[in-house]
């Protein structure tokens, strides 16, 4: 089987699974889950086979043609796509297996697995896309899958509101993305990534800056950067495996992936903007995470923060650093979410961390894997996160000291809130009955945790990766000499400061120490968190609603009234007028004869 065929099967297997589930297996949850997991296994196998098989290829078919404008569907399978596809495959498979146990008692299991399958299809489409239009199509599909899955428990209005919010905010970003694609096509005459790589309108001052920024809007929406980050915490209304797969590891990383793909279009001004947006997002999200009570929301803000890191890394100029952090982040964030899912299920669907505690003894596997993940994210030397974060810090140190300082401070906060979470959830005595009765889940819940823990631990030794991903990882910045020492020292210092403070400051007695001891700071942080939502609320309620009402009025009076009924009225009146000619009276017709004769006379006499 040629690589192209393998890639096609990888792309279409989840689609076939989704179609099968939708058409036939809507009520049979067990069969649906089996089909979906089989498709995910196929995807994982195919992805790894392709990646380590060593073949890299491109293929393209023309899909639609409008005169001189054509939209093509194609695959661009290079090292970057290989890496991303492997991540999607492996993490996807882990999440699918985890879902078998997590959603065992859910009534709408079939619908859930159908949604997971369609998501896998859309995500693979983004990864393999070779032109921006195709990427946009699958971009929208991914957004739809996200909406569908967040809204899984439809009875809850909070879930449907969150799904709508996610979709609408993504739409705002996608609008900028679409403008960018159109502008790119107009300026360069093509949207194929390969052709753009060859040459593009880099000389035109306005376009060369505008196009990457507009395309970045798409990443702002999909990867939840400032100011469009408001949807990600709310998206935690979906089931935890969904949060793990979509809102931690893969979909939100699609924005980063897209940025890496359009690296050829970047100019320094755009990159500065991108770097700062990423940094500010990282900082803001870390500040918001400190005061959260819900375990999933903490992880959501943590995701936002790490995505900010990736975007900042890209903005500082290194595709390799961004993708490396994306890889390690996929592993340990998925692990964190799945661990949280295990905890939630164990505590009988309790999500408030102040109602947990003492789970160290009761759920050992979860505890140890979660610990590895926490260690990875805060940057304990030797684990995956340490290497990727280090790479980013090196990059920042060499290019932009201000960003370096901000990212270092954010690292302190990361350690701070992650250790806070870890301590309150797992250590101390159980604070509620649900925690006291907690027990470990079945093999389907624990096996993925173990696998991901292993990957989080060893995933940082990128030189150990086969040459399969060499094209990407060769771009990871390495530090030498003094820079290396400074950055290494900085990482260790932030780790110790953050972790130590958290462990010392927070107690396991069931209340938030920060809230207790320093209400002013706590209040400030909470206000910071809710400020964006409040601002959007104001805008929508006051400004947008008024504009919508004006337009509604114009529509009813102007369009429906004047234009539509007016035209109908004009036609009706013309009809009346013409109808009046049919009097049926002989004399009238004779007058018309005379009229005609007079006209002919005048014409013949030369008067007319």
């Amino acid at each position: 089987m040629t690589p192209l065929q393998t890639a096609l099967y990888v792309l279409l297997a989840p689609l076939a699974s989704a179609a099968l589930i939708t058409l036939f297996l809507c009520r049979r949850g067990a069969a649906a889950s089996a089909v979906s997991v089989a498709a995910a296994a196929l995807v994982a196998y195919g992805a790894l086979a392709l990646a380590f098989g060593g073949d890299r290829f491109t293929a393209s078919w023309e899909w639609l043609r409008f005169g001189s404008f054509a939209i093509a569907i194609g695959f661009n399978y290079d090292d970057l796509a290989a890496l991303m596809l492997s991540i999607v495959g492996v993490v996807g498979l882990c999440v699918h297996v985890f879902s078998l146990g997590y959603m065992r008692d859910d009534a709408a299991k079939a619908r859930y697995f159908g949604g997971l399958s369609i998501f896998m299809f859309s995500m693979i489409g983004i990864v393999l896309a070779d032109n921006l239009f195709m990427m946009f199509i699958f971009w929208e599909l991914v957004g739809f899958s996200s909406y569908f899955l967040i809204n899984h428990w439809r009875e809850r209005t909070s879930a449907s509101d969150a799904a709508k919010k996610a979709f609408i905010v993504n739409r705002v970003g996608d609008f900028g993305f679409l403008l960018g694609i159109i502008l790119c096509y107009w300026a360069n005459g093509t949207v194929s990534l390969a052709a753009l790589g060859a040459d593009h309108a880099s000389s035109h001052a306005v376009y060369s800056r505008l196009i990457p920024l507009l395309l970045f809007c798409g990443a702002v929406g999909k990867s939840a950067q400032l100011p469009l980050q408001v949807w990600l915490p709310d998206a935690m209304e979906g089931p935890t495996p969904v949060s793990a797969l979509i809102h931690a590891a893969t979909m939100v990383a699609a924005g980063i992936y897209m940025l890496c793909r359009i690296n050829v279009l970047m100019v320094p001004e755009a990159q500065t903007v991108i770097a700062w947006v990423g940094t500010l997002t990282a900082l803001y999200a870390a500040l918001c995470a400190v005061t959260q009570r819900d375990i999933k929301k903490v992880l959501a803000y943590s995701t936002l923060s790490q995505l900010g890191y990736m975007v900042a890394a890209f903005g500082l100029g290194s595709v390799g650093a961004a993708m490396f952090h994306l890889t390690t982040h996929a592993f340990f964030k998925a692990l964190l979410f799945l661990g949280a899912g295990s905890v939630i299920v164990g505590c009988h669907h309790e999500q408030d961390i102040f109602m947990m505690g003492g789970l160290r003894r009761r759920m050992p596997v979860t505890f140890w894997t979660f610990t590895i993940a926490v260690a990875a994210i805060v940057g304990l030397p030797g684990l995956a996160g340490f290497f990727s974060k280090d790479a980013i810090l090196v990059l920042a140190f060499e290019n932009n000291r201000a960003v370096f300082a901000a990212l270092a401070f954010t690292a302190i906060l990361t350690a701070f809130y992650m250790l806070r979470l870890w301590k309150i959830v797992f250590l101390g005595a159980s604070r509620a009955d649900s925690a006291r009765d907690a027990h470990e889940g079945g093999i389907s819940l624990t096996a993925p945790l173990v696998l991901l823990a292993v990957l989080s631990a060893v995933g940082g030794y990128w030189r150990a990766y086969p040459r399969a991903f060499g094209g990407v990882f060769s771009q990871i910045p390495e530090a030498l000499g003094a820079t290396h020492a400074i950055v290494l020292a900085t990482s260790l210092v932030v780790l110790l400061v953050g972790a130590g403070t958290a462990l010392a400051f927070y107690s396991t007695d069931g209340s938030d120490s920060l809230e207790r001891k320093s209400p002013a700071v706590f209040g400030f942080l909470v206000a910071l968190r809710t400020s964006f939502d409040a601002a959007y609320d104001y805008y929508v309620a006051r400004i947008q609603q008024r504009a919508a009402m004006i337009l509604n009025f114009v529509d009813i009076v102007g369009l429906a009234g004047v234009v539509v009924r007016g035209l109908a009225g004009v036609a009706e009146n013309i009809g009346f007028g013409v109808r009046a000619l049919h009097t049926g009276r002989l004399s009238n017709y004779v007058y018309w004869f005379l009229g005609g004769v007079v006209v002919l006379w005048a014409y013949a006499a030369g008067v007319l």
Binding site: G584, R585, L586, S587, V590
Partner: protein
């Protein structure tokens, strides 16, 4: 001192106009028909006048044909009017308004 051609043509025109007026104004179908005949006669007068003043007999011969046609037309037309009378019991032209909207 013969009357000039102009006077004959004017007379013919006046007759024609009177006949036309009758067609427009009268309501009785039969009277309208008679006025139609008046118009035909006016046309024949004009033809004869022209043929006389141009020195040929073509106009005269043509009057023969007009007379024939008029006779045939009257026959058929009156038959139609009788058939209409049978259908509607009246000869007022306003009652013939089936084509009214």
């Amino acid at each position: 001192m013969t009357p000039s051609l102009d006077s004959y043509v004017m007379l013919s025109a006046a007759l024609f106009a009177i006949g036309f007026l009758g067609v427009l104004v009268r309501r009785n179908t039969l009277v309208i028909y008679m006025c139609l005949e008046l118009m035909l006669v006016a046309a024949t007068l004009a033809l004869v006048a022209f043929s006389r003043f141009n020195g040929t007999e073509d106009g005269d011969v043509f009057v023969f044909f007009i007379l024939t046609v008029a006779a045939a037309e009257v026959a058929v037309g009156l038959a139609i009017i009788v058939a209409l009378f049978r259908a509607r019991q009246t000869v007022q032209v306003e009652s013939l308004d089936s084509l009214r909207h």
